[in-house]
């Protein structure tokens, strides 16, 4: 049964993509919340240097030696950036932009120089070969398991264990690093552990999606989830779901169009982000616009109610004939807008039109009165 599953190329590829996304967004969530999303960009570029160096030294092209060795270059990038920023000769953003291109360039140059000895070419560095992950297998308990899938699985488990085991600590260190430090939770050490895991994930994902597309897998699903929820656990869950959906959808679309599978999966995360950006329940553009309109309608209805209330108080009836002119003069509403406001207020039962004029209903009077005299609970009884 497992054998059949592993022999299924489509499944292997989709699963690898999904694992890259799940593992990436587990750590990416915290980077995003800390405001360090661009560190994933810096690290995923500079691990190229680490991968080439580890290969030249040990000829390990996958497995723990390669993952940890190359992952250290990612952490090194952040350390060097910190050191450079601390000299105060360059700003932090420039420091990031100076360190990782240098390491990346060195990595690519080494690839050029030792092209014959190295298993990857510069093309793979950028594009990945997720379509061929099933070719490179490892015998494990009698099953031929694709290397990329195996190591992505391991990294995903490690990431999940890290996030699950240190959930409270990570949450505190992310949202209130000062408090975390004061309570002795070593937020800096936690942060570097997070960076090491991000870097290791990038290395494990490298053969599948290359250096640049990994950023999409690590940043875009958490960003999508961030637009949908305020709860950290839900954000992690939604990020993983987006990653899985993008992997499945991306594979189908890529096969249909005969284009890069990794690229299409990354684009699918983008499609999820676009959907969340437009239709998110609270932060989405549509929801924002809806809130905005509702607020405007409510304000218009209130303005009308107060205006009519004051006229009625002064004993000035509002006749249909003069209505449009009065509303334009006094409230600055053009005829069309005035008509719309009147109609909406009538429908929500604030006003009544009996052909001769416009009157507030008791509900309308109460609305206006409550706004003008918020300290009174109900209209003073004229009889009392």
């Amino acid at each position: 049964m497992l054998e059949a599953l592993l022999a299924n190329q489509a499944l292997t590829i989709t699963l690898t993509g999904a694992l890259v996304g799940v593992a990436g967004s587990l750590v990416g969530t915290f980077l995003l919340l800390r405001g360090s999303a661009m560190l994933s960009d810096a690290m995923s570029h500079s691990i190229v240097f680490g991968i080439v160096v580890v290969w030249l030294l040990t000829h390990a092209q996958s497995g723990p030696v390669q993952i940890i060795g190359a992952a250290l270059t990612g952490v090194l990038t952040v350390v060097l950036t910190e050191l450079l920023t601390r000299t105060r000769r360059v700003k932090n953003d420039a420091a990031i932009g100076l360190v990782f291109p240098a390491l990346f360039a060195a990595g690519v140059l080494l690839l050029n120089l030792y092209a014959r000895d190295v298993h990857i070419d510069t093309h793979t560095v950028l594009l990945g070969e997720i379509g061929f992950v099933w070719l490179d297998t490892l015998s494990l308990g009698g099953y031929e398991v694709p290397q990329a899938l195996l190591w992505m699985g391991v990294v995903t488990l490690v990431n999940a264990a890290f996030v699950g085991g240190l959930y409270k600590e990570l949450k505190l260190a992310t949202f209130d690093p000062q408090l975390a430090a004061a309570l002795g939770f070593a937020p800096t050490a936690l942060f570097y552990a997070l960076l090491l895991l991000t870097s290791a994930t990038a290395v494990a994902a490298f053969d599948a999606v290359g250096a640049v597309l990994f950023i999409a897998f690590a940043i875009v699903p958490p960003a999508t989830a961030y637009l949908l929820t305020d709860r950290l656990w839900l954000m992690l869950l939604l990020g993983a779901l987006v990653a899985i959906a993008a992997s499945v959808g991306g594979y189908a679309a890529a096969v249909q169009l005969d284009v890069s599978i990794g690229g299409t999966m990354a684009l699918m995360t983008g499609a999820c982000l676009a959907l969340a950006f437009l239709l998110g329940p609270r932060h989405g553009l549509a929801a924002q616009a809806w809130r905005h309109w509702r607020q405007r309608y409510a304000n218009e209805a209130r303005a009308l109610a107060i205006y009519l209330y004051e006229r009625e108080d002064r004993g000035v009836p509002t006749a249909e004939a003069e209505l449009a002119a009065v509303l334009e003069d006094e409230l600055g509403w053009p005829t069309a807008q005035a008509a719309a406001v009147l109609e909406r207020s009538r429908r929500s039962g604030l006003i009544r039109r009996d052909g001769s004029g416009v009157h507030l209903t008791p509900k309308g009077r109460e609305t206006a009165r409550a706004l003008r005299q918020p300290w009174r609970r109900r209209e003073a009884d004229p009889a009392a």
């Binding site: 999303a37 050029n112 093309h123 690229g263």
Partner: protein, 381 residues
Amino acid sequence: MMAGLGTLLGDYTVQNVLLGAVFLGIVSGVLGSFAVLRQQSLLGDALAHAALPGVCLGFLIAGARSLPWILAGALATGVLAALTMLLLIRRSRLKTDAGLGIVLSLFFAAGVVLLTYIQGQPNAAQGGLDTFLFGQAAATLRSDLYLMGGITAAALTLVAALWKELKLVTFDPQFAGAIGLPVTVLEVVLTAMIALAVVVGLQMVGVVLMTAMVIAPAAAARQWVKRLGAMVALAAALGVAAGATGSLVSASGANLATGPLIVLTASALVLGSLLLAPGRGLAWAQLRRWRERRAIGERQVLATLYRLAAAHYDPAYPTELGTLDTLYGGTPRRALRRLERRGLIAPVAHMPHEEGPHWELTEAGRRAAERTLEGNSGGAG
């Protein structure tokens, strides 16, 4: 060696490559200076990656590897990426770093998809697109240079015409807004200029490493000078130097991609500038720190000898090395040696058969110690 260089310079390809490097250096140095000073270095990174889909679209529209179309496409997607990022961070709760990461990776993914789409087409002219990833200086044609030169000239004219305004927006956007400058328009111009710099570098450096060319020359130049005009000029010069060195090595036929060579040269220039620039250089700062620490140590020893002498009512009181050891928790041998060389203290033989070496203040040493102590008690030092 010189003859070899002469032949190299006479070569048609090499001339092209050098001219291209000059344009690349000027544009990225000048426009990058503004990006670095405005702390938008990573925008250059995002826009560089975002050029890839534009390259592919330009190719698809032109139906061939036509540089004008490719550069126009790159510029268009670069600007589109910048606008998308603005939309994301203005209209959602995502912050700048997330906006940059999202735009960078998604536009690049679109580029990857388009690239594989083009490679799947039965079209013989598809080969050259890969070179835009890491740059290939040797592929530069004379006609490409006209285009790059034209863009460079246009960018420089724009910067010169808007010099005062750009300077103000870079250093004090609030003030610029207060005196009625169209800050938003100028910021858009500056952002579009980064995209322009990326476009000029595509051929030489490629999309992935153009970010370094935007940042490195400017960051290096900043170490040497304080004025914007000088920084821009120096950044351009350093950019040209990095571009020329990297592309010459690449074109000399070792089959190395141009982009990484140029970027490593530029990184070396940054490292050198950080260490050695007069005033700001880290090496000088370290040297100053050593000197100061040394001077403080010497003054301490002098003051100690002086006070011991005063406490014993004997200007020529010979202080024993052991006393200093106890005071300092270790022998300040080097400070003693330097003070002796400068004639401020002198070794004296004092019961040499029993104890270690002794030191006394010379006349000059006493005066120096008095100056130091006065300075301290006066509150000035």
